[in-house]
């Protein structure tokens, strides 16, 4: 449960990493200015590795929750909608953590061991 205080990974990996799914977290103009701790340049180098399926679900559920709550913020449906957002955000965070350990080269080589990049030498 203890959520990560510094879950942002940087590009300073010891070997070249295939970059997956980089998008600018500040692309949407509706983003509010962040707290000083997260607005530093350090966090702009985030490799966002949430699988797109879950990421889409999260953003959809947020839109849905905002719409449902526009009418009545105290209603059961509104509360349930935000709970869904929380659940999906947690799932996204776990998926990110799971992917953090995965090396894209190793993943590729599991399926394609005969390619040049994946050759191993045992002398």
């Amino acid at each position: 449960m203890a959520a990560s205080l510094s879950s942002m990974t940087t590009l300073s990996a010891p070997r070249p990493v295939r970059l997956l799914n980089i998008s600018n977290p500040y692309s949407s103009p509706s983003h509010v200015r962040l707290l000083p701790c997260t607005a530093s340049r350090y966090t702009r180098l985030v490799v966002r590795s949430t699988p797109s399926e879950i990421a889409n679900k999260v953003s959809e559920s947020i839109k849905n929750a905002e719409e449902t709550c526009a009418d009545d913020p105290k209603a059961g449906e509104c509360v349930a909608a935000w709970d869904e957002v929380e659940e999906l955000s947690a799932a996204a965070s776990h998926a990110r953590d799971k992917n953090k350990g995965k090396d894209p080269l190793e993943e590729y080589c599991k399926d394609n061991p005969e390619t040049d990049e994946c050759r191993t030498y045992e002398d």
Binding site: M1, A2, S6, P25, L35, V58, V79, A91, A92, K98
Partner: protein
Amino acid sequence: MAICTVHTTPSLSMPNTHLNQRQVIFFTSARKNQFFRGQNRAFTVSCSADAKTVVIGLAADSGCGKSTFMRRLTSVFGGAAEPPKGGNPDSNTLISDTTTVICLDDYHSLDRTGRKEKGVTALDPKANDFDLMYEQVKALKEGKAVDKPIYNHVTGLLDPPEVIQPPKILVIEGLHPMFDERVRDLLDFSIYLDISNEVKFAWKIQRDMAERGHSLESIKASIEARKPDFDSFIDPQKKYADAVIEVLPTQLIPGDNEGKVLRVRLIQKEGLKHFSPVYLFDEGSTISWIPCGRKLTCSYPGIKFTYGPETYFSNEVSVLEMDGQFDRLDELIYVESHLSNLSSKFYGEVTQQMLKHSDFPGSNNGTGLFQTIIGLKIRDLYEQIVAERAAATAQAAKV
């Protein structure tokens, strides 16, 4: 599941007295006996079929499974915890050699659409099947395998069940481990992770700000919307917990709202049979300790410990509190050498466990330290219970 103990028998001609148990006798070859000259090395393995599982409950907000506490806990017992091989890839269960971790979200009676229709959150007891939870935890405790449903967090649906074999240690983790009284009575030890609102907010910002679609308002709205249900259903469980890890903002930095330096309190219930609280210097007294000084140099903001007896929801407790951060290895080992009743097997075990997982969040502050200490305490509790049961079985055999 049976617990098997290995005894050396002086010779094969002298039978073992445990007549009502199945025995396997191994006789090692003469060559291997060179170290034990003059002694007949024969080993008897006796298994008692009525050994039961030790059940630990862990209450924590939102999300289950691969959480840091679980990984630290299973690491104390040895081995890494993995999802069951060959099963549903979205399973929330973790299995290691000695421990199985079950996520209580699997006992949701309503899936995501069901909850949306009824307008209830996952925190609401109406969305959970406590009867099934009680039945299955009871069966696992008695050593029977169960078919546990799976709640898929990605799709929000209830998937077909998976088979869970009874382990030595069963950890049930989720929102309501101590909510139902029957389940509460099955727990041998219970822990509650109490994160204060400010810290929760800071952590959720860290977690969700990179997520497309999330903004500060949406995170805030999500926390606010869940708060009433959380306060009425989840929070009251902390009075039943044997240990509470409370995470608060630091008092060392005035006006800090970043949530990086934390003040963590380990609230330990007194008077429990197999649990002796960790203390500082003198049990039962009130201590305030700043280790940084002449022997140890720390960087800003330093470390501060307090220890003392208190009352928590009308229970007698001992509270060990750490405020600040560890920067270096020697700070950690220095602190460990001054804590007592850690239930560690050797000097420096806590430090070693913390270093093993230095990439886990909380490894430099009280959250990691107290989680590791609780892990050692649970190991000690398990060994005490097993020894007790073995003694009881031996008694029963003699009679």
